[in-house]
C-alpha cells in the first residue's frame, strides 16, 4: 500500500474518525485506525464495537492495500507535521512508513484482518434525511437520556420514523424531552429505533447541516451515510416505555416567563441547593414566581420573578439542574410552563418558535417536605 495525501486533508479525516477510537480497550486493534485504499483515495475507519465511523479522503494511490495504524500516535504525528504532502507506505502486514517534507516516521501497525468488520447494512432501502433536521432533533433531546446503567433502554434515544414526521424522545424517568419534525418519507416503512446518544453525538458533529443522509437499518445496527462519511451504531433492543401516556393533557395552571430571567434565578438558587437532589421550591401566584431553597447544614435562599400565571396558586418542588438543562435547550426567549398539581408532571415548551418543529419537555416534581 502506498499513497500521498495533503497533510490538512489527512488531519481533517483523522479528527472525524478519532472520536470513535476507545480510550481504553482490551482488544488492541481497536486502538488502531483502519487505513485502506479506495477508488477515490483512502478510507479511515475506527470503532469501539458499539459504534463505527469511517470517512473517505481524496488521495493519490500508487499501490492498493490496507493496514491498521495506532490512532493516537498517528493523530499526534500528523498534528506536528509541516504543511506538505504526506507519503504513507506499508511494507508487509505491519510496517508503516510516513514521510512529509524532511520528516520520516516508521510505525508498527497491525494486520488489516484483525480489525473488526463493519456491520453489513444494505443502503438500498433507506430513509433520506436532511442532516440539519437530525442535528436539531439530537441537540434538543439527547441530553435527557439516562446515564444510569439500571435501565439500559433509557440510556438510548428513541427515534420514531413515520411517513409524515420523525420524532426523537429521551428520558431518564424523571424528565423527558420530545421533538418532532415533519418529513416526507412515504416510500419506506415506519420504524422505531433506540440509539445510544454517543453515536448521535458523532452524527450531529460529522455531517454538515445541508447534507442529505441515507439512513438504513441492519439486523441490530443502524447506518448513516453521506457521500464520503458513514457512521454505524448498535441499536438498543427492547420496547421503549409508553411516553405518550405520561404526557399530561389536562394541565390547567399555566405560566409564561422569560427564559433567561428564569435561568438566572435558578442558577442563583442552585448555589444553595443540595448537591444530591438539587431541590428548590417554586411558588406560583398570579404575577409572581417565588423561589426558595433550604438545605440543612448549608443555608437558604429566596428569589422572585414577575411572570404571567393563570390558575390556582401552586407550590411545587423541582430538581433545579433538570430545569436548567431543559431551559438551556429551549430555542425561544419566552417559555410556557404548565402544571396540574404538586405531584404531577409539569411541561415546558417554547413560545413563539418560528419553526416547523414541535418541542415539548416534561419534568417530574420532587416531593416537598413541610
Amino acid at each position: 500500500m502506498r499513497f500521498t495525501i495533503a497533510r490538512e486533508k489527512l488531519q481533517e479525516g483523522l479528527s472525524a474518525v478519532a472520536a470513535s477510537v476507545p480510550a481504553k480497550t482490551t482488544l488492541p486493534v481497536l486502538a488502531n485506525l483502519l487505513v485502506e485504499t479506495t477508488d477515490r483515495g483512502i478510507r479511515l475507519s475506527g470503532t469501539d464495537l458499539d459504534m463505527a465511523v469511517s470517512t473517505e479522503l481524496m488521495a493519490d494511490v500508487d499501490v492498493q492495500g490496507a493496514i491498521t495504524i495506532p490512532a493516537k500516535k498517528l493523530v499526534e504525528i500528523v498534528r506536528e507535521l509541516p504543511s506538505a504532502p504526506v507519503k504513507v507506505s506499508a511494507s508487509g502486514e505491519q510496517k508503516i512508513t510516513l514521510e512529509c517534507s524532511r520528516s520520516k516516521f516508521k510505525l508498527l501497525g497491525l494486520p488489516k484482518d484483525e480489525f473488526p468488520s463493519f456491520p453489513s447494512i444494505r443502503f438500498g432501502e433507506s430513509w433520506r434525511i436532511r442532516s440539519g433536521d437530525l442535528q436539531k432533533l439530537i441537540s434538543h433531546t439527547a441530553f435527557a437520556s439516562s446515564t444510569e446503567e439500571s435501565r439500559p433502554i433509557l440510556n438510548g434515544v428513541l427515534w420514531e420514523l413515520r411517513p409524515d414526521q420523525m420524532r426523537m424522545v429521551a428520558t431518564n424517568g424523571h424528565r423527558l424531552a420530545k421533538m418532532e419534525i415533519p418529513i416526507n418519507a412515504t416510500e419506506v416503512p415506519s420504524s422505531d429505533l433506540i440509539i445510544p446518544p454517543k453515536a448521535l453525538e458523532q452524527i450531529r458533529r460529522l455531517f454538515p447541516a445541508e447534507e442529505e443522509l441515507e439512513v438504513a437499518r441492519g439486523d441490530n445496527h443502524l447506518g448513516f451515510r453521506s457521500p464520503f462519511t458513514a457512521v454505524y451504531t448498535r441499536l438498543i433492543e427492547g420496547p421503549y416505555p409508553n411516553y405518550e401516556q405520561v404526557i399530561p393533557k389536562d394541565n390547567d395552571r399555566i405560566a409564561l416567563a422569560d427564559r433567561n430571567a428564569l435561568i438566572q434565578a435558578l442558577k442563583r438558587m442552585s448555589v444553595i441547593a443540595s448537591d444530591q437532589t438539587h431541590r428548590i421550591r417554586m411558588s406560583f401566584n398570579s404575577g409572581m414566581l417565588k423561589f426558595s431553597v433550604q438545605t440543612p447544614d448549608l443555608g437558604e435562599a429566596q428569589d422572585e420573578l414577575p411572570i404571567n400565571f393563570e390558575g390556582d396558586s401552586l407550590d411545587i418542588g423541582f430538581n433545579a439542574s433538570y430545569l436548567l438543562e431543559i431551559l438551556r435547550n429551549l430555542p425561544t426567549d419566552e417559555v410556557r410552563l404548565t402544571f396540574k398539581a404538586p405531584e404531577r408532571a409539569a411541561t415546558i415548551e417554547p413560545v413563539g418558535w418560528d419553526d416547523t418543529a414541535k418541542y415539548l419537555c416534561l419534568i417530574m416534581p420532587l416531593r416537598l417536605v413541610d
Partner: protein, 576 residues
C-alpha cells in the same frame, strides 16, 4: 442444758471465713489488697497447687509493728476506718478488718512483717490459734504465707476445685491487680514456674502488652472522655478485630475491679453498627465517679458497686466509647503485627494516626462531631467549610487511595459510601422526611410473600425515606417516587434487595428496626465495588465520609479505612 450458746471465737471466724474466703483466689485478693493498702510498689506472689497447698504474698509496703501485727490477726482490727462516717466514700480496698483473721482461721498462716528494714516480727497462726510470736529479720514490708487452706474446715474442702480451676481464679485476680495498679511491679510464680513478671508500666496499653502480648494490645484503641463528673478511660477493641479472638472484659470503677452488666451493655451499645450483631468486643475500661455517686460496699466480695444514678454512668460510657470509635485510630491497620513488636514488652503500638488527615489535617472536632449536634447544625444552617481533600486515586475500581500523615491510606468505596448513607438515612428516619423524586414511569415490583410482609412491616419507614409506594393487591407494589441519595442510585434494584434482606427479620423494637432498615438500605443503595468514580465523586465521598460520626467502620463492622504505615513500607524497602 441450755440450747443456745455463744459461739466460740474460732467458730465465728470460720463462719466469717466462709463469707470472705471462698476459694484460694479470694485469699490472694484479700492479701494483695492489703499489700496495696500498705503502699506496696512490688508484690511477689507464689502459688502452689492452684493455691490449695500454699499461697504466699510478699510486698514492700509499710509493714506492721509487732503489737499491730498481733492485733491485725484479731477480728475487726483495721487501720483503715475509725468511725462509721468513713464508710461513705471509702477509698481503700479493705476496711472491715475481717480478712486476715478469717483466712487465718481456716489455714496455717505465717506472717512476717517489718515496719523498717531489719527488726521484724514473725507470727504463726494455726487454724485461728495464735502461735509463737518471734523476732525475724526482714526488709520493710510484709510476707504472708497461707498453707493448707481449709485444712480444718472439712465442710469446705469438697468445694475446692481442681488446681487448674483454682489457678484460673487466681490469675483473674492477678489480672485485675495488674490492670488496676500498673505502677506496681508484680511477679507471680506458680508451681515453681514464673508466669507473670511485670515491671511498672507507663500506660495501660503496655501493661496489657505485658500481660496478653503485644499483638493483643495493639488491637485496642484508647478511650478517654469526661462527661459531667464522670471520667471514662481505658482501651477498647478496634471493631475490625472484634470476634477474631476471645473477648476479654475488664472493668474498674474508681480503680476497683468490678463486674457490671449495665456498663458493659452501654459500651457494647456504642459499637452498634460497627460490629456484626452478636460480636462482643474486648473492653478494658476505668470509670471514675465521684465518691458520693457510688456505693462500693454492697457485695461481700466487693465485685459489684451500686451507682446512685446508673443511667448517667452508662450514658457517659456509651458516649466515651462511641467517641473513641469515631476517631481514626480505630481504623484497621495493615501488616503483620507480630513482626513489628517482637518482644512482649515492646512499646505500645503507635496506631493512633489521624487516618483521614491528609498532610493538611482535618480538625479532630470535625471528625468527632457527636450525632446529637445535627439538630442544631441544621438550625443554624452555617457550618465549617469543607475539609481539604487530598488527591485521591481509585484502585481496582474498589478503593480510594491517598497519602495520609502516617502512611498510605486506603478507603473501601462501597463500605465508605454505606457508612455515609447509613448515617444520612438514620437522620432522615429520626428527624423527618427526605426529598423524593416523582417518577414518570412508576416501577412495578412483584414480591414474594416474605418480601411483601417485610414491606408492610416497614411501609411507614420507606415513606419517610422517600419511597412513595402503593400496594396493588396481592404482593405487587407500584413505586411512584424514590429518593435520590446519589446520581447512580438504582431504585428498583435497591428496593428489591432491601426487602429481600429484610424478609428474614422477626419483629424488633422501633429503634433497631430503624437501624436495620437504614443499614440494609445503605448497603443496597451504596455504590458498589467495581464502579468507576470520577474525581468529583471521589472527593464528594471523602468529604461525606469525613463528616460521618464513625468514618472508620461500615455498618457491618468491616473497616472502611485501612492504613499502610510508612514504617511498614520502609521495612519492606529495607530502609528501617
Amino acid at each position: 442444758m441450755s440450747r443456745i450458746a455463744v459461739l466460740a471465737r474460732t467458730v465465728v471466724d470460720q463462719i466469717a471465713a466462709g463469707e470472705v474466703v471462698e476459694r484460694p483466689a479470694s485469699v490472694v485478693k484479700e492479701l494483695v489488697e492489703n499489700s496495696l493498702d500498705a503502699g506496696a510498689t512490688t508484690i511477689d506472689i507464689v502459688v502452689d497447687d492452684g493455691g490449695r497447698a500454699r499461697i504466699r504474698v510478699a510486698d514492700d509496703g509499710s509493714g506492721m509493728e509487732r503489737a499491730d501485727a498481733v492485733l491485725a490477726l484479731a477480728r475487726h482490727a483495721t487501720s483503715k476506718i475509725n468511725v462509721a462516717d468513713d464508710l461513705v466514700g471509702v477509698g481503700s480496698f479493705g476496711f472491715r478488718g475481717e480478712a486476715l483473721p478469717a483466712i487465718a482461721s481456716v489455714s496455717e498462716m505465717d506472717v512476717e512483717t517489718a515496719s523498717a528494714d531489719g527488726a521484724g516480727t514473725a507470727i504463726r497462726v494455726l487454724g485461728g490459734e495464735m502461735g509463737e510470736v518471734r523476732d525475724a529479720a526482714r526488709r520493710r514490708g510484709t510476707t504472708i504465707t497461707v498453707s493448707r487452706l481449709f485444712f480444718n474446715a472439712p465442710s469446705r474442702q469438697p468445694f475446692l476445685r481442681s488446681a487448674r480451676s483454682e489457678w484460673r481464679g487466681i490469675s483473674e485476680v492477678v489480672t485485675a491487680l495488674a490492670l488496676t495498679r500498673r505502677d506496681v511491679r508484680l511477679t507471680v510464680v506458680h508451681d515453681g514456674k514464673q508466669v507473670v513478671a511485670l515491671p511498672p508500666a507507663p500506660s495501660l496499653q503496655s501493661r496489657l502488652a505485658g500481660l496478653w502480648g503485644a499483638p493483643f494490645a495493639e488491637r485496642l484503641v484508647p478511650v478517654d472522655a469526661v462527661q459531667g463528673a464522670i471520667h471514662v478511660s481505658g482501651l477498647i477493641e478496634r471493631p475490625a478485630d472484634v470476634g477474631t479472638a476471645g473477648r476479654r472484659l475488664f472493668l474498674t470503677v474508681n480503680g476497683r475491679a468490678i463486674r457490671d452488666h449495665g456498663i458493659v451493655r452501654a459500651a457494647e451499645q456504642a459499637y452498634r453498627s460497627t460490629v456484626p450483631a452478636g460480636a462482643r468486643p474486648t473492653l478494658c475500661l476505668d470509670v471514675v465517679v465521684p465518691g458520693d455517686l457510688v456505693d462500693v460496699n454492697v457485695h461481700p466480695m466487693k465485685a459489684e458497686v451500686r451507682f446512685r444514678d446508673r443511667w448517667i454512668v452508662e450514658r457517659a460510657v456509651e458516649h466515651a466509647v462511641r467517641h473513641a470509635l469515631g476517631g481514626s485510630a480505630s481504623a484497621a491497620s495493615v501488616g503483620p503485627r507480630a513482626w513489628a513488636y517482637p518482644t512482649s514488652f515492646a512499646a505500645p503500638a503507635s496506631v493512633d494516626v489521624e487516618i483521614l488527615s491528609p498532610p493538611a489535617p482535618l480538625e479532630e472536632g470535625f471528625l468527632a462531631q457527636p450525632t446529637t449536634d445535627f439538630v442544631t447544625a441544621a438550625d443554624s444552617s452555617f457550618v465549617a467549610p469543607t475539609p481539604e481533600v487530598p488527591p485521591l486515586l481509585q484502585l481496582a475500581r474498589m478503593y480510594l487511595m491517598f497519602e495520609g500523615e502516617g502512611g498510605v491510606v486506603l478507603i473501601d468505596q462501597h463500605s465508605a459510601h454505606e457508612r455515609v448513607l447509613y448515617e444520612r438515612f438514620m437522620r432522615t428516619l429520626e428527624q423527618g422526611e427526605t426529598p423524593s423524586q416523582r417518577l414518570l414511569f412508576p416501577i412495578t415490583l412483584h414480591l414474594g410473600p416474605a418480601e411483601g410482609d417485610a414491606f408492610e412491616a416497614h411501609q411507614e419507614l420507606f415513606a419517610k425515606l422517600g419511597f412513595e409506594i402503593e400496594g396493588f393487591g396481592g404482593h405487587t407494589l407500584i413505586v411512584n417516587s424514590v429518593p435520590m441519595p446519589h446520581p447512580r442510585f438504582d431504585a428498583p434494584r435497591c428496593l428489591r434487595e432491601t426487602l429481600d434482606a429484610l424478609s428474614g427479620d422477626r419483629d424488633a423494637g422501633v429503634a433497631t428496626r430503624h437501624e436495620r432498615l437504614a443499614a440494609t438500605l445503605a448497603c443496597k443503595a451504596a455504590i458498589k465495588a467495581g464502579e468507576q468514580l470520577s474525581p468529583g465523586e471521589m472527593r464528594a465521598l471523602f468529604v461525606a465520609l469525613a463528616a460521618t460520626t464513625l468514618p472508620a467502620h461500615d455498618v457491618h463492622g468491616r473497616s472502611t479505612i485501612v492504613q499502610l504505615p510508612w514504617s511498614e513500607i520502609e521495612r519492606r524497602f529495607g530502609r528501617s
